[in-house]
Amino acid sequence: MIDEEEIDLLLNDLFDLYGYDFTSYSRASLKRRIVRLCSLDKFPSFAELRYHVKTDPTYLKRFVEEITVNVTEMFRDPSFYKSLRDDILPIFGTKPFIRIWHAGCSTGEEVFSMAILLKEANLLKKSLLYATDLNPSVLDNVRRGIFPLTQMKQYSESYISSGGINDFSTYYTANYGQAKFDRELSEKIIISTHNLVSDSSFNEFDLIVCRNVLIYFDKDLQDRVLKLFDASLGTLGYLALGTKETLKFSAVQNKFKQLNKEKIWKKIA
């Protein structure tokens, strides 16, 4: 078993040596990830893991990739995407230009889902989707726009439940077990690393989507990041969180109004 003090030491190393600040992450989850990595990579002791992180930059990369959780899906929670289709995109129709920020986008499934919605609403041409994550390696995946073909059946079902009426397979080309999504979609995606803990606002957006990222942060860090989102939203912009995340009891709750049952808030102040 690894105790708290050891984790603190490791987190201090990460910050002092590399500037990665995980100290305000949810401890329970972080600890699980570290224990898991320790056994996955067969370190005889925690000290050994710590030594590797300190001395081996390639291992650092793996460490950061593995202790953050990168699991994601296309059209996850179809009713959320349906609400985007029905309630948000029609409002964007009158805007000359649409900027959307996917913060913590992981390998990009969510960003491509959004691009498909925009295309179907005839808005893609005037849109830009900013896809950011702390992990450079997941972003390589967004850049390629290639996802496992085995997932497509499920994604297609979710797409249909989100209100999609096309044949989902028209959005990609299948090849060697891979689905490569259309260039028309990826052309509108701007990719960059961005650390929500330490980086600041970089643009003004009409919609910020940050789903299942805040659950890894403690309450204070959540508040800080929500303020960053608030500062990065235009007047009457929208903020979308994961199904179990909330603005309730947060520092910015009075500046937002929840739209409906989905976790989408409108900025009102």
């Binding site: 329970a28 959780v69 659950i215 179990k244």
Partner: protein
């Protein structure tokens, strides 16, 4: 040893169940008395989204306030909390919940092992765990962990379970202190303080 156990107060009861466990809860929850002095956390394997009204359904069977957990909700005595579909449920040192969307464990998310282990780290010997009907190994590892930290573990009597495998697996692996049927469970829980 045993006496020690009896004297320890219960600060959290965790219940894990899979196939066939919903029926048990429907019978057990109505028998729980109002004003229990500890919170109850329920981890159920469920088929995605189909059972999205599960919290409401469970709430209708008990006088105890019952709801599905949101991220960072505080763990408050006297309440029943249901793990949301498709997230692992963890507990922080400051006794709030954290959700986690990481890989499935035992083919399950939420995984019973994940919550049991996390809870035992925080509550130690003040934790009581109950494993119900199911066809999966999930929960056994967590119960072993709870026992090691001095917590108490209960399995549904396999003969009374629709799917005996899950409680039986925990029993066979030596992870269980008490084997109880539904009637006995409710008495046991109502007498915990």
């Amino acid at each position: 040893m045993e006496e020690d156990r009896l004297e320890t107060s219960c600060q959290l009861l965790v219940i894990g169940g899979s196939a066939g466990s919903l029926d048990v809860l429907f019978k057990l929850l109505p028998r729980l008395k109002a004003g229990l002095t500890f919170p109850i956390v329920v981890i159920l394997h469920r088929r995605n989204s189909v059972e999205s009204f599960l919290a409401e359904l469970l709430a209708s069977k008990t006088v105890l306030p019952t709801r599905e957990v949101d991220d960072k909700d505080p763990v408050v005595p006297g309440n029943i909390y249901l793990a949301p579909a498709d997230y692992h449920l963890l507990i922080e040192k400051n006794r709030t919940f954290s959700l986690d969307y990481s890989e499935k464990v035992n083919f399950s998310r939420p995984s019973i092992d994940v919550t049991f282990e996390s809870a035992s780290e925080i509550y130690g010997k003040a934790l009581v765990a109950l494993i119900l009907s199911g066809a999966n190994e999930d929960g056994t590892q967590g119960m072993l962990c709870i026992q090691k930290r001095g917590g108490r573990t209960i399995a549904q009597k396999p003969e009374s379970a629709q799917m005996p495998f899950m409680p039986q697996n925990a029993i066979s692996r030596g992870a269980v202190n008490y084997i109880l049927d539904i009637e006995q469970m409710s008495t046991f829980i109502n007498e915990l303080t």
